[in-house]
Amino acid sequence: MRIAEKFAELKRRKDKALIAYVCAGDPSVEATKEIVHALVKGGADIVELGLPFSDPVADGPTIQEASTRALKAGMNPDLYFEMAASIHENVPLICMTYYNLIYKRGTEKFARDCASSGITGIIVPDLPSEESGELHEACKRNGVDLIFLVTPVTSDLRIKSILGMASGFLYIVSRLGVTGQRTDVAGSTKDILNRIDSRVPKAVGFGISNKEQAAEVIHAGSDAVIVGSAFVSIIASGDNVNSRIERLAHEIKQSCIN
């Protein structure tokens, strides 16, 4: 499913979106499939499946550790696409990964593999717009959205040029730093949401871990919240994972419902 279709569907209901991140293959391919199912059952509208990289510079400890677990368990890009193809949930799947894995596979092949395995968006946290030309073209040819990030320090001029390329949604980094749970997301987020006049939906991520924060972000004008580390922490605990994931997704989704 394409991201735009999902947002159109939500818009008809006047709902906002919950975008959930988990790391593929953490702790195993089978577990990830069940976790994705639990997320969707709980109310996630879009699922980001992290393709783990050995050197995840944009990630905090929670997702670094998840990446390490997944790599140790044998996750690799071939398995990743196989797994994605076997997931049949009625939500868009997005690939989040680092650029070297894409470069090594070849941008065209990577985009094609995404499309043929049902992945309709790509997020690359170490690929700023300046360097994204080749992947962007490959994505366009294959009907995959390349999702760009903006942050509180991105200038209005840069935002404008990034918006020119954006498709799917615009990923708004709530504050400076790496991924991970935080207490303070609201202040800088409101400011940046106000600065952006986007034709694609705006989704706020990095640091959101509970329904209160989600509600604040939605209230500040975001079209979606992105939650990652909070789900990954549940997976790391190994304790009652699927039901707790479903419950957290459900709770946060309540903040997104009109």
Partner: protein, 419 residues
């Protein structure tokens, strides 16, 4: 070609949060690099604090043995014991002109961390250094040095717990504190403009060599040999000679145990020699990776060369054939370490020993010509413990007879040291 590129290498593959900081840094650098006030202040630091200019020393004993004229550029005599200070003084001063309050850095051998601590203490910055936990163990004297100068050292326990992981952690810190912090990168690696800035500050080495060799020999050298980890001492000495096509330039990489990769690691750190193109820590360059693009852990007896990538400009210069990448093994580097100590009374850093070893190994073939300059990038005091432990373990092995074939207890095996 974009400003940020060397041929097809280089670029800025970093999180969006860092893009404004890279632009700010590049703008500031362009503003001050020819500013007489900045240059005067930097020159003064280099001379009075750093001890420049360093001698270009004619190594008579080595020259006699190998039958060619060998000069050593004595960067081991720079304050701190390595070329690293040239760059840290330059960047710290730039950070001061930019109004930053805090400096962070990564370090492998601890030499760059030490040089950062020196510059920061002197110029009044708060400094924090990230260092792989494995390197903290094998270079702990440098940890004490940094701490003595008021610098906070963070042991990094992620990944391979070496230089690459220290850079990751420094980048994560920078993403979080970018508004008041300057990331003082220690080699010609990372996103543009770092490879250019570090090269320029290190070029003082090559500029001096040029003057000195003309004074002493009345001509340019036939070849210049420098070890290459990230490549800053190599680029620093090569850069002023790039246009002199007759001067051959040899970056010597760490050949480690063997020029081979297993599934998870490389047994060497030779990314220029046998690496592949990829993106690592902000730059498109030559890297050690597996077939999927996961970064392989590198390996070398010298912490400062133990890195899975190399500066993008070196990758480009190798690509167009202007430099000739080569490598020597751990064993050859150690032999050179001993030989230079005995023959010249100069104890080289294990990193620099790689450059010395290459000259010892190839002088006879004639391909280096008759007049060679080796960049002696640092002194070996920091490595004494490593070398002695290696020697003990070797002697241990030799005295053991066939009945006892199990691993010697005191073998300094990286995997044992790290945890």
């Amino acid at each position: 070609m974009k400003d940020s590129m060397y041929g097809r290498f280089g670029g800025q593959f970093v999180p969006e949060t860092l893009m404004p900081a890279l632009t700010e840094l590049e703008d500031a650098y362009k503003l001050y690099k020819d500013d007489p006030r900045f240059l005067k202040e930097l020159g003064n630091y280099m001379k009075e604090f750093g001890g420049r200019r360093t001698p270009l020393y004619y190594a008579a004993n080595l020259s006699k043995k190998y039958g060619i004229r060998i000069y050593l550029k004595r960067e081991d005599l720079v304050h701190g014991g390595a070329h690293k200070l040239n760059n840290t003084l330059g960047q710290a001063l730039l950070a001061r002109y930019m109004g930053k309050e805090r400096i962070i850095a990564e370090t492998g051998a601890g030499q760059h961390g030490t040089a950062t601590a020196m510059a920061a203490a002197n110029m009044g910055f708060k400094a924090e250094v990230y260092m792989g936990a494995k390197d903290v163990m094998r270079q702990h004297m440098n940890v004490y040095r940094m701490e003595l100068m008021g610098c906070e050292v963070h042991a990094v326990r992620s990944g391979s717990m070496t230089l690459k992981d220290a850079i990751n952690e420094a980048l994560r810190d920078w993403v979080t504190n970018v508004q008041n912090t300057h990331y003082l990168i220690g080699s010609v690696v990372g996103p543009h403009p770092y490879p250019m800035i570090v090269r320029d500050f290190q070029s003082v080495i090559g500029k001096e060599v040029r003057e000195q060799i003309l004074e002493k020999e009345g001509r340019l050298p036939d070849s210049i040999v420098a070890c290459a980890g990230g490549g800053s001492n190599a680029m620093g000495i090569f850069h002023p000679f790039i246009k002199d096509e007759n001067v051959m330039l040899y970056p010597v990489e760490a050949g480690g145990e063997e020029l081979k990769n297993t599934d998870r690691e490389a047994l060497h750190s030779s990314s220029l020699c046998i690496g592949e193109e990829g993106i690592l820590q902000g730059a498109h360059t030559l890297i050690l990776q597996d077939r999927y693009g996961q970064i392989l852990e590198s390996s070398s007896v010298s912490a400062g060369l133990d890195y899975s990538g190399v500066g993008p400009e070196l990758a480009h210069l190798a690509d167009i054939g202007r430099i000739t990448p080569c490598n020597v093994s751990d064993h050859e580097a150690l032999e050179a370490f001993y030989e230079l100590s005995r023959m010249e009374g100069i104890i080289p850093a294990l990193e620099s020993s790689h450059a010395v070893a290459y000259v010892m190994k190839t002088a006879e073939t004639g391909k280096l010509g008759d007049l060679v300059v080796i960049n002696l990038s640092g002194r070996g005091d920091k490595d004494l413990e490593t070398v002695f432990r290696l020697r003990e373990s070797k002697e241990g092995e030799e005295t053991k007879t066939v009945e006892d074939k199990k691993e010697p207890d005191n073998k300094i095996n990286d995997k044992e040291v790290c945890l």
